[in-house]
């Protein structure tokens, strides 16, 4: 497990261990923002960026501050603070240096602080004892996997506008079920690469 190459982890995080479809993380913003493809793309890009950044930061903080000081039990509160601060900083940075990007991503950034996929990626990194390279592969891969899933579902949602869904299923219920079918499709990748 510790010898697994970062590239294998990257591929696994996108396809076989998709953070949304097999670990169920990031469902809240997934349900809220999967109606239109452009919105899904914007949120997906923001998640990839923030997830890679925060996993790297949290790796460094966990291994150079929390472990030497033996305060690992504070990891939750430290990680969430790092994520909130990172998002805030990135928002100010982008606003200052790239206004077009800010207007494209801006509204999605605050949402991301409470996206459980971001915190989940950091927690998985600790639980699975990744090295730094592996963590980077995992953070980036998990972000890409999440973005892929939300964009695909947004495409399916568009098709569903024209179908006659029975009334109790309208809204969230049918979204859940098509997500389940999509998760089944992604299980076809199982066996391609294995982590854990």
């Amino acid at each position: 497990m510790n010898e697994t190459s970062a590239w294998v982890i990257l591929i696994a995080a996108i396809f076989t261990n998709n953070i949304l479809l097999s670990n169920f993380l990031g469902m809240c913003s997934f349900l809220a923002c999967s109606k239109q493809i452009p919105t899904a793309l914007g949120l997906g890009a923001a998640v990839i960026f923030v997830m890679t950044g925060t996993v790297a930061l949290n790796y460094w903080i966990y291994h150079s501050l929390l472990v030497p000081l033996e305060i690992e039990h504070l990891q939750f509160i430290v990680f969430i603070a790092v994520i909130a601060a990172f998002v805030q900083f990135v928002e100010m940075f982008i606003e200052r240096f790239s206004p077009p990007l800010y207007y494209a991503l801006g509204i999605f950034l605050p949402l991301i602080t409470v996206n459980c996929a971001i915190l989940g990626a950091s927690l998985f990194m600790v639980i699975r004892k990744y090295t730094f390279a592996q963590s980077m592969g995992f953070g980036f891969g998990a972000g890409v996997g999440w973005a892929l899933a939300i964009v695909l579902i947004a495409g399916l949602q568009r098709k569903m506008l024209y179908s006659n869904v029975p009334w109790p299923f309208r809204g969230v219920a049918i979204t859940m079920i098509i997500t389940g079918v999509m998760a089944m499709a992604f299980m076809g990748f199982a066996g391609m690469v294995t982590i854990q």
Binding site: L21, S22, N23, F24, L25, G26, M27, C28, L31, H73, L74, Q75, F76, I77, I80, A81, A84, V114, N115, C116, I118, L119, G120, L123, F124, I127, N164, W167, P168, F169, R170, G171, V172, A173, I174, T175, M176, I177, T179, G180, V181, A183, M184, M187
Partner: protein, 221 residues
């Protein structure tokens, strides 16, 4: 529901379960259930429900965190500056999550290992944050506790139902005891795997919608 005459209240002398308290309680469990109506906190609802025991522990965890954070956010509501309230809420919630996580690690290590990161992820569970923000900030501590219990319970009940169905159909067991013998029942592996979780929750929400009846504007397609 601002205030109700005390005569018609079954709630008791303390005033905790006065009109508002009772309404708050029922809303949390049925009328405005956190999962099936507000669709909050579904991540863990999907992730831990492969077995009933895990679902129950997660339900207890959420009740504990919800009550604790609602109580403290409500107690501190008059002294918290408006601009930093999010961070204050986050810190309070994280404190209670750490408490519960340490408790699990200390006394129920096996359960803690199975739940993995999902205990920590209660911090970003939108239910807790949502209740602190939407309810505890505006209300007195006692009513806030009722709201915390109710929303935690509403969440726990949904988790228990999904966990029961998935474990029963997927493995033929309930809390580890065999109910549907494998002699004549072939376990539906799908229910334990990831897709089963999505489908089970989708069906549950559909059934719930069915009980509530169609939305007024949607009755005529």
């Amino acid at each position: 529901m601002t205030s109700s005459p005390p005569a018609m209240l079954p709630g008791g002398p303390g005033g905790v379960l006065d009109g508002k308290g009772k309404q708050t309680f029922l809303d949390g469990i049925w009328g405005n259930n956190p999962i099936s109506i507000q669709v909050l906190g579904v991540c863990s609802a999907l992730a831990v429900t492969a077995r009933l025991a895990n679902s129950l522990v997660m339900g207890v965890a959420l009740i504990f965190v919800c009550v604790g954070s609602n109580l403290f956010v409500s107690l501190l509501r008059n002294v918290t500056p408006r601009r930093i309230r999010m961070i204050a809420e986050m810190a309070i919630i994280a404190t209670f999550v750490i408490l519960f996580d340490q408790f699990l690690k200390g006394f129920y290590w096996e359960m803690s290992r199975q739940l993995g990161p999902y205990v920590g992820l209660i911090i970003t569970n939108c239910i807790v944050m949502g209740r602190a923000e939407a309810f505890a900030l505006q209300n007195r501590p006692l009513v806030s506790i009722v709201d915390g219990v109710a929303n935690g319970l509403g969440y726990a009940v949904v988790l228990a139902v999904i966990g029961f169905a998935r474990e029963l159909l997927g493995a033929g067991t309930v809390l580890g005891y065999t109910v549907l013998s494998t002699d004549w029942y072939t376990p539906c592996q799908l229910m334990i795997l990831a897709p089963g979780a999505f489908i089970a929750l989708g069906l549950l929400i559909a059934v719930y919608n069915g009980f509530k009846g169609p939305e007024p504007e949607e009755t005529t397609p």
